[in-house]
Amino acid sequence: MNVKNYVQFEFFSCPENVSFARSCAGAFAAQLNCTLSDIEEIKLVVSEAVSNSIIHGYGNKPNEKIIVTASIGYDNSLEVAVEDFGKGIEDIEQAMEPAFSSDATRMGMGFTFMKSFMDKVSVISEVEKGTTVRLERRFALAAEADA
């Protein structure tokens, strides 16, 4: 990706910050040439990734660090990385399966939504070191949309 603009922000892993993170990501994504419902989808996937870091990465410990980095490319693409330094994921394949959840009170739909709304979802994780979820999507350029 040829980066046109980028932002990075870090915050504590408390539930109050989930809405902060998705609102920031949504506001940044508004620079893309995309629709309002695209922005809603971006907010959803960021909410899922950040919630995963809080719940699974940090086991709900509220004062650990989460870093969100978002970039917009000249090709009208968006890349968002959500990084935590928590316990990591042992079996990434299993974690990404629909309705798999190590926590029975949640739906286990987080990765399903991420995969549904983004072109590419990649996870890099190391046990006891942390997890980075990278979310990528390219939106149609104005010229392509007209064609």
């Binding site: 539930p15 959803l44 919630s51 549904s116």
Partner: protein
């Protein structure tokens, strides 16, 4: 998140305003569970007309309340989900378990047809 609650006989109507995510999911779950127990509710109507956002933490609360009320042979309905929220409910398959209705009135009319 604002929660408004109303009982009509054994029906519990929960009207939510705001965003349904990790921050509010636990509070909402406890609130509804207490009301279901207090009211001995057999029907739960979740009004989402003024809910602008739901993620999987929110879906977890919804599906959990469905299981709870179903275990008591009760019914649950969702009223007035906005398009993005509705899309999430459909994608998660919740709509196959809990009927999505336009508004509370439509549910009340269905009741009579169901003979509840």
């Amino acid at each position: 998140m604002n929660i408004d609650c109303k009982h009509i006989y054994d029906t519990l109507i929960i009207r939510l305003v705001g965003e349904l995510d990790l921050l509010v999911s636990e509070k909402l779950r406890d609130f509804i569970d207490i009301k279901i127990t207090e009211n001995k509710s057999r029907v739960l109507i979740l009004n989402l007309e003024k809910v602008s956002f739901v993620d999987s933490s929110g879906l977890g609360v919804i599906i959990g309340r469905y299981k709870k009320i179903s275990a008591k042979k009760g019914k649950m309905y969702i009223a007035g989900a906005q398009p993005m929220v509705e899309q999430i409910l459909v994608l998660s398959g919740i709509n196959k378990l809990i009927p999505l209705c336009r508004n509370e009135q439509e549910i009340m009319e269905n009741y009579r047809e169901d003979g509840i």
